[in-house]
């Protein structure tokens, strides 16, 4: 085999392997029912910064924005003020925003002392990472935000800093 054909063979194999990997990851990450929030979501209980257990079920039936964040994540910190503005705007329509920290209680406490947040914060630690994955975030990167409407349908999934306008558009559609 000449050098060139060997190189071509390697390249083809590499491309095929990468393709297979991407396909495999994609096919695994798609939840079975595309848009219905998994029933398990409503059974989840995480502590809030005061240490009281809070169940996600208390927000069932309302338009709900779930934002996965962490204190070490710069874009998460940047978008939090946006969430506060949106929350005051859409509170009358019953919308709630909940920040689930993929972080340790100590980090969350230290962070909230520096930058207090008005909307409810739950401390999910490592388990929240798996929840975010189950809700369609295979990379596990942050911030990750989903919007669930009154019927428990996931109407938006967004990885990365969420532009305020995009969130407002979605909430406008389902809020009223």
């Amino acid at each position: 085999m000449t050098r060139f054909s060997r190189l071509a063979l390697f390249l083809t194999l590499a491309v095929l392997a990468a393709g297979a990997g991407i396909w495999f990851a994609q096919s695994r990450s798609r939840p079975a029912s595309e848009n219905q929030a998994p029933p398990a979501l409503w059974q989840i209980v995480y502590p809030d910064p005061q240490g009281m257990n809070q169940s996600l079920a208390q927000w069932r039936g309302k338009p709900l924005v779930l934002n996965f964040w962490a204190s070490w994540c710069a874009p998460c910190r940047e978008e939090m003020p946006d969430f506060e503005i949106v929350r005051t705007q859409y509170r009358p329509a019953g919308v709630e925003i909940v920040g689930i920290a993929v972080d340790t209680p100590a980090n969350v406490h230290a962070f909230l002392q520096r930058q207090p947040v008005a909307y409810p914060i739950l401390i999910g630690e490592g388990a929240a990472h798996n929840l975010a994955r189950a809700l369609g975030n295979p990379q596990g990167a942050l911030p990750y935000t989903i919007v669930v409407d009154r019927d428990g349908q996931i109407v938006m999934r967004h990885l990365g800093r969420l532009p305020r306008a995009a969130l407002e558009t979605v909430l406008h559609k389902i809020g009223s």
């Binding site: 874009p75 998460c76 940047e78 406490h109 990379q139 990167a141 942050l142 969420l162």
Partner: protein
């Protein structure tokens, strides 16, 4: 006058660097001794002029010459003298000048200590270093001139970033840069080998001390940065997997792989092409780190003003250096003749396995560092992958490498016998496993990761002891390089033990403390005695007094501060730490809570944290010992003796 002198010296240095790059390389190519002999004086002269430029900038800072833009932006008349001096490299422009100074220093060092190198090799090495200097000095003069004037002059400066006003910061950048830039020497040696086709044991022996020296500086630089973050950021953390930290950690991983691969190349003539590739990779990662930190693509403490021209220049330079060296590699590497063979179980194969693990870990860190940047660049949003990702990928790759690190030095070169080593290490392995788990059980709460850390630390420490026993039984003396290697490995054991404990058993509390109130943490009682004002030279502070006691006995009185810097208005937390061999007690002031003098206070108990710094220090001392082994220095006398013998034989 002084700044103009500095500017002029920098321009002369650029021209000298051009001479240093062009003439010797041309001379080596045409085998012209006259052209090659330009290399050494040019390198020394270039260093001299860069030094003049650096001194000029330092003088401008010391005399508060606020007509220099850089001084006005980064200094302040009431800044203490020491910090006025270190502010010289506190800015983007100044730190680049420090980078260039270090590069010129390494070039000059090669010129001085390369007398026993063949002229063509020395000319090529020094020439390549000159090329790198050209790139960086041009970058400074074009986009980041430290001597730029502003007229009329500012009356007062903006002050140095308060975060940098700490003595850890005084030595962190010079050490880090000595490391980053030191790999330029390894890079230059690799390019010289590719150009000349000479890639033998002698080549590996020449490049080894330089590479180890650079690695030693980088180790010190990284650990100083980590120590600074721990003390100065007030979060009690020592490693955040922040992109700027990763930028220095990636060349360190590659450099670690390189010094081990070089050892195999020198001793056994194996892995030649791999060693060269690693040398290119290590320096490329140093440049990538510089690009990430200097171009402003990252926003953090380190990233200075964003200027697209700067980013574009460094990116272009990066492409030229990385692309050019890889193209040269692709063209010349097939000519490298592979060295001796080795069996499936030998020191070579173990070193190779560790190299593969290190490079895989490096790839994982690189991916995690660049992925958010790529996603952002493609306009797909700003994301962050943080400690969960890095811990999940890094630990499983490094743990087996640490296990192999224990076996490697005990295996024979070329042809080891797995059965012998297994028979020898079978019981110690069981004992290490048992005592590692027993230690983890003995502590307040069993944590599997801590048990793994203890096992690995004990394993490495035990095998280090065994290596010493073997060596002494063999009747041989203990050369410095042997001490260096074992000390560095032992330092790793100490560091791993420290990481295991501090990661698993640290505790911290956020408490509201009124004067006279107290709080408990990890068996210590912290009593708050209130906070009062204190005037610093360039800041106002609220200074708290916290008495720490244990079982009624007084341990320490700590004075954490909350500072507001006058010129910049920036608030800073100055933590107060009481260290000892087994733990740190660490107190940081949060915010004042009411008019009665209550504050929010953060208390930390960090067991074994100092083992981490100690381990890194041992590694650096090991590196220093290995780099200064006589074997590398006596090369000249030995080769002269060999030449004499050859002459007599002929």
């Amino acid at each position: 006058m002084i700044p103009e002198l500095g500017q002029f010296a920098l321009i002369v240095a650029l021209l000298l660097a051009l001479v240093q790059a062009m003439l010797p390389l041309a001379g080596a190519w045409r085998n012209d001794a006259a052209l090659m002999s330009v290399a050494r004086p040019a390198a020394l002269a270039q260093f001299g002029f860069v030094l003049v430029a650096f001194v000029c900038l330092a003088i401008s800072f010391m005399v508060n010459d606020f007509s220099v833009l850089n001084v006005a932006r980064n200094s302040y008349s009431r800044l203490p003298e020491l910090y006025r001096f270190t502010a010289t490299w506190g800015s983007h422009e100044g730190s680049l000048l420090l980078w260039v100074l270090m590069l010129a220093f390494w070039g000059a060092a090669v010129a001085v200590f390369s007398r026993r190198l063949p002229d063509a090799m020395a000319a090529r090495v020094i020439g390549v270093m000159g090329l790198i200097s050209v790139g960086f000095i041009a970058f400074m003069l074009i986009t980041s001139n430290p001597f730029e004037r502003q007229l009329p002059a500012a009356i007062e400066g903006n002050d140095m970033n308060p975060l940098l006003q700490d003595w850890g910061m005084i030595i962190h950048p010079p050490m880090l840069y000595m490391g980053y830039v030191g790999f330029a020497v390894a890079f230059a040696f690799a390019i010289a080998a590719l150009l000349s086709g000479r890639l033998d044991a002698a080549w590996a022996r020449w490049s080894r001390p330089w590479t180890i020296a650079a690695w030693t500086f980088l180790t010190l630089g990284i650990v100083l940065g980590s120590w600074w973050a721990y003390r100065e950021l007030g979060w009690g953390g020592w490693w955040f997997w922040d992109p700027t930290e990763n930028a220095s950690f990636m060349p360190w991983i590659a450099g670690t792989a390189l010094i081990h691969s070089l050892a195999a190349t020198e001793k056994r003539g194996v892995f030649k092409a791999w060693t060269v590739l690693l040398a290119l990779t290590t320096f490329s990662l140093s440049l990538l780190g510089t690009f990430l930190v200097r171009s402003g693509v990252l926003s953090s403490v380190h990233a200075f003003a964003t200027d697209p021209a700067r980013g574009a220049f460094i990116l272009g330079f990066l492409v030229v250096v990385v692309g050019g060296s890889l193209a040269l590699y692709a063209w010349r590497a097939p000519r490298i003749i592979a060295g001796g063979g080795y069996s499936g179980f030998s020191r070579e194969s173990l070193l190779l396995a560790n190299n593969v693990l290190l490079i895989a870990a490096l790839g994982a860190v690189l991916l995690g560092t660049l992925y958010p940047l790529v996603v952002d660049a493609l306009g797909l949003g700003k994301i962050s992958v943080g400690p969960p990702y890095f811990n999940a990928v890094f630990v499983p790759l490094i743990a087996p490498a640490l296990f192999l690190m224990g076996i490697g030095p005990l295996a024979r070169w070329k042809n080891g016998r797995l059965a012998d080593v297994a028979a020898r290490l079978k019981w110690p392995f069981a004992a290490v496993l048992a005592s590692g788990f027993a230690l983890a059980f003995a502590l307040d709460e069993f944590k599997p990761w801590a048990a793994l850390g203890f096992c690995l630390a004990l394993w490495i420490a035990y095998t280090v002891g065994l290596a010493f026993r073997d060596r002494l039984r063999g009747g041989g003396d203990l050369p410095r390089a042997f001490w260096g290697m074992q000390l560095a490995h032992f330092g790793m054991a100490v560091g791993v033990a420290g990481i295991a404990v501090v990661a698993a058993y640290s505790s911290e509390r956020d408490v509201r403390m009124a004067p006279g109130g107290s709080a408990e943490l990890a068996g210590y009682t912290f009593t708050f005695r209130g906070a009062g004002p204190r005037e610093g030279p360039n800041f106002h502070a609220m200074r708290g007094t916290v008495e720490v006691s244990r079982n009624g006995a007084r341990v320490a009185t700590l004075h954490p501060e909350k500072r507001v810097y006058t010129a910049s208005g920036m608030a800073m937390t100055e933590a107060s730490v009481h260290p000892n061999f087994f733990r740190d007690v660490y107190v940081a002031l949060g915010e004042p809570l009411d008019d009665q003098g209550a504050w929010s206070v953060r208390l930390f108990h960090k067991p074994f944290i100092n083992w981490l710094w100690l381990g890194a220090l041992l590694m650096a001392i090991g590196g220093f010992l290995a780099a200064t082994d006589r074997r590398y220095r006596l090369g000249r006398a030995a080769s002269r003796a060999a030449a004499k013998l050859a002459a007599q034989g002929a």
